[in-house]
């Protein structure tokens, strides 16, 4: 499907809502999966500023080498940037295929450098100054704007990003157990609710659980045929891919474990392992989504970046600017885009961090506008007060 076709079909979302969202969504092709890396991953290890001598001076132990034949060196992208070698087999092929783009110097103006506060302020997506509505996250607002968006949080708790007036279900897929309540018991429980205001809600809850199990039944099949079945985030991502192909259009998942103050490693080690696992999972999405991959955009964000200089424990501390990842079958990838600046001592923010030149609200606003054809009014609902910038990612 061509990009133009993709955009126009995205505009043609049916105006369906109500309790039957599992089925109602089947006609709307545009899909967005939002991946939040909690703990502020070291973006300077993902996207390596290979043209910066200052980077190599600042990180005597953990810098990633400039691209070369050495398997431990970073993978060639542009003259300024290389990719972490842990992504060689998973995401690098997507980048080369043009389905993955990166936006460095990305993030928020919030400089508290507190995980908890910055995650929260990003998820709310509201201006930093003035009254905040804590019960309104920006994906919920996006979901409200896109009638029939079939949202789903693939998490145990409903994350702040999905809080708000639109009813959003949530189910963690990392720890999915067979429902404890069997079909007979479900029917009997549902019978107690018939005629009450919760009748349809209870019914839908059971349908949702059964639907999840049906969707994932093939997983056991596959697992029994393959010698090695997916584990960890890859398993979770494959489940998400299946569900987003058939039932949901607006998804959220978070992945933790990125707070690397001590011994984060370089081409190998703790951070490399985390990136490898993440990469395997994300690379599985196009496989699971199949033809729907053309209509899908996956964005990966984190609350902030880390200090450019390594600290005394060969790790990094809380910083500022991060890197946005944008993947999808119709993404104009294979590029590093957005406002950029040379990584030098003089360009550091507060002499420690990569600066933020691409504000998350403006950048994501521009991306959503492009993907979903949002009007200015709708955009202002999702990101009030932001000035959307289209970086041509689609």
């Amino acid at each position: 499907m061509h990009r133009r076709h993709f955009l126009s079909s995205a505009l043609a979302w049916p105006l369906v809502s109500g309790p039957t969202r599992l089925y109602a969504a089947a006609n709307s092709p545009a899909r967005l999966l939002f991946v939040f890396l909690r703990g502020a991953y070291d973006a300077a290890s993902l996207l390596v500023p290979i043209s910066s001598n200052f980077y190599y001076e600042s990180r005597p132990d953990i810098a990633l080498a400039r691209p070369s034949a050495d398997l431990a060196s970073s993978l060639p992208m542009t003259t300024d940037w290389g990719l972490h070698p842990a992504l060689r087999d998973s995401l690098y092929p997507l980048y080369q295929r043009g389905e993955l783009a990166f936006v460095p110097f990305f993030g928020t103006d919030d400089i508290s450098r507190s995980h908890f506060e910055t995650q929260e302020s990003i998820e709310l997506g509201q201006p930093l100054v003035g009254h905040k509505d804590y019960s309104s996250g920006f994906l919920n607002r996006l979901s409200t704007v896109l009638t029939g968006s079939a949202p789903m949080a693939f998490t145990n708790q409903l994350p702040s990003i999905f809080k708000g007036p639109a009813q959003v279900p949530n189910t963690a897929l990392s720890t999915l157990a067979k429902p404890a309540i069997d079909v007979r018991q479900s029917d009997i429980i549902a019978s107690m609710y018939s005629g009450t205001r919760l009748a349809s809600v209870v019914q839908e809850g059971f349908v949702m659980r059964q639907e999840l199990m049906r969707e994932l039944a093939t997983e056991m099949d596959a697992a029994s045929r393959q010698s090695i079945s997916a584990k960890g985030f890859e398993l979770e991502a494959r489940r998400i891919g299946k569900l987003m192909k058939d039932s949901y259009r607006l998804g959220f998942v978070d992945v933790g474990g990125w707070d690397t103050h001590v011994g984060q490693g370089g081409a190998t080690g703790y951070l490399a392992n985390r990136l490898n696992e993440l990469g395997q999972g994300l690379a599985a999405l196009p496989q699971e989504l199949g033809r729907a991959w053309k209509d899908t955009v996956v964005v990966v964000v984190s609350e902030f970046g880390r200090t450019l200089r390594q600290n005394g424990s060969r790790g990094t501390d809380h910083g500022h600017g991060s890197v946005l990842w944008v993947m999808g079958g119709s993404v104009r990838g294979g590029r590093v885009v957005g406002e950029q600046i040379a990584v030098e001592r003089t360009t550091l923010f507060q002499d420690r961090d990569l600066p933020v030149l691409n504000n998350y609200r403006d950048t994501l606003g521009g991306l959503f506008q492009r993907q979903f054809g949002l009007s200015q009014t709708q955009l202002a609902q999702v990101f009030p007060g932001a000035s959307a910038r289209d970086l041509g990612l689609l």
């Binding site: 995650q119 702040s160 189910t171 018991q185 429980i189 919760l198 809850g205």
Partner: protein
């Protein structure tokens, strides 16, 4: 009918008195009508409305004391004894044995020692141990809270403790806040939960947990951080439409400058001329060095710069404001009565609040004695905390659980863990936040876990866990005498279809009637 089968197989578990009641009530017709209750039913419903959830012993207390006296005792609790083994458990907790300042110092010491290690592996392990200890301290606080909710005879006080913890919400995730939660609940919240709102406000506003959570420890003259000031007016007192301006936020932030935390043994050094204004109470510190002594104006009135006394004056002003009376009264009515409480009742409560100088028990008395309250039984949807606590109370009455872990996990799964609200606005108190399809399915699974007796509540923690057999006692005299009559025909029919005692329990705990108070 399944109950027959259950009686046959489980008879030996029941006492003789219970048995005769049980048989007598079985003989009586079960009407399943919601409208008319015998005196006994009313007692059950009233207790259900006043406590974390009705159970046999609470209904007994209620009957012994009579409605009026029971309510009076609940609003003005004198003693709240727990079973000795529970009290012992709480007494042995580090949060009980170590005062806040000491605890914070010990944890700081542990953190510094971990950071100072040279070897990467050792350092990582020590930092993990530090985090684990913070988690354990949080677990002590949550466990204590759950045990009291389940077993304290002072049930209104316990609910108000939860209510104010939620109203003055702090999140466990920030810094070392996990070490402060126990003290925050025990010394800032619970003693004032039914007392004067102004005293509660003062205790909260000078507690290190709140000062850290809302950044007031960073707030200093010339380097204003207005986070706490804004929430103090918007969330804690006046309410978002309470008639304050951005100017008031800035002025209150100036008033709050210097109110912070000192976890050192020694006091911070102060300029000589300001020394007299220095205040230190445990880990709380008012540092005149950091205070903006300029004159201010707050809510249209001047406020003279004079140190910590300004804060007291500002809190007086906020607590006495009519908007605060309305805001707090409305929130109390939402929590206890209905998502959209009758405006006339809220008005009467607000009047009582103002007349009594913000006496919480007096305000609550208006609500709990109101005809609107008496008629509202079975309408207020339970939030996850109330659902879980009421289900365990009903299932096990006074039999002390050995492990709060399953309860804490359920609260996590349903998105309402204690001290787990990320934002300072607290968990929502209305049905629409908690009655989604996923939530309901989770509740049924919890109902099954409790109902089948396999939830792990009687499996002790530790290296050699011990499990005590404890089958939930749901089909008891209370059920047959009182509860059954409040159930709809549909619920009764469902219960009849149960094929085991476990399933019968599961259905009862899953019923629409169990979802409301």
């Amino acid at each position: 009918m399944f109950v027959e089968h259950w009686r046959m197989t489980h008879l030996p578990l029941l006492g003789a008195a219970t048995l005769s009641l049980l048989l007598a009530s079985c003989a009586a017709p079960q009407t399943g009508q919601n409208q008319q209750f015998s005196a006994a039913d009313t007692a059950y419903q009233q207790v259900n409305h006043l406590t974390w959830g009705a159970n046999t012993s609470a209904v007994e207390h209620f009957r012994q004391q009579g409605a009026e006296q029971y309510l009076q005792n609940q609003l003005h609790p004198a003693r709240c004894p727990l079973a000795p083994e529970l009290q012992q458990q709480i007494d042995g907790m580090r949060i009980t044995t170590t005062p806040l300042l000491e605890l914070v110092q010990q944890m700081e010491q542990q953190r510094k020692e971990a950071d100072a290690l040279g070897n990467d592996e050792a350092k990582k392990a020590a930092q993990q141990a530090y985090q684990q200890e913070l988690n354990r301290l949080r677990r002590e606080s949550t466990t204590r809270h759950i045990l009291r909710a389940l077993y304290s005879p002072c049930q209104v006080q316990e609910q108000m403790t939860w209510f104010w913890l939620n109203h003055f919400s702090v999140h466990q995730g920030k810094g070392n806040l996990r070490a402060m939660l126990g003290d925050y609940e025990e010394n800032a919240i619970r003693p004032h939960a039914l007392g004067k709102f102004r005293e509660l406000l003062g205790a909260v506003a000078t507690h290190p947990a709140m000062l850290r959570y809302l950044d007031n420890e960073q707030n200093a003259a010339g380097k204003i951080n207005e986070n706490f000031a804004r929430e103090l007016m918007e969330l804690h007192t006046l309410g978002v439409d309470g008639g304050y301006s951005q100017h008031d936020v800035q002025e209150l932030a100036r008033v709050l400058t210097g109110a912070g935390i000192n976890s050192n043994a020694s006091n911070s050094l102060q300029k000589k001329e300001l020394q007299a204004l220095y205040v230190r109470r445990g880990a709380f510190e008012f540092s005149p060095n950091r205070h903006d002594f300029g004159n201010k104006s707050l809510l249209g009135q001047p406020l003279q710069g004079k140190g910590l006394a300004e804060l007291n004056e500002a809190l007086d002003r906020l607590a006495a404001h009519p908007a605060t009376a309305r805001f707090i009264s409305h929130k109390l009515a939402v929590y206890w009565l209905a998502d959209e409480p009758p405006a006339a009742l809220v008005k009467r409560m607000a009047e009582a609040f103002q007349k009594s100088q913000g006496d919480i028990a007096a305000t609550l008395a208006v609500l709990l004695n109101a005809p609107e309250f008496a008629q509202a039984s079975g309408r207020k949807f339970k939030d996850p905390m109330r659902y879980v606590v009421s289900a365990v109370r009903l299932a096990y009455d006074q039999k002390p659980i050995l492990n709060t872990g399953p309860i804490l996990n359920w609260l996590e799964r349903m998105g309402e863990p204690l001290y787990g609200r990320v934002t300072p606005d607290g968990y929502p108190l209305t049905a629409n936040a908690w009655d989604s399809p996923g939530q309901m399915s989770t509740r049924f699974e919890i109902a099954k876990a409790i109902g089948s007796g396999s939830a792990g509540l009687f499996k002790s923690d530790g290296p050699q866990p011990q499990e005590r057999a404890a089958f939930p006692q749901l089909a008891n005299a209370l059920y047959f005498q009182s509860m059954a009559a409040t159930l709809s025909p549909a619920t009764l029919r469902a219960l009849e279809q149960a094929s085991s005692a476990q399933e019968w329990n599961t259905f009862l705990l899953s019923s629409p009637e169990m979802m409301v108070r």
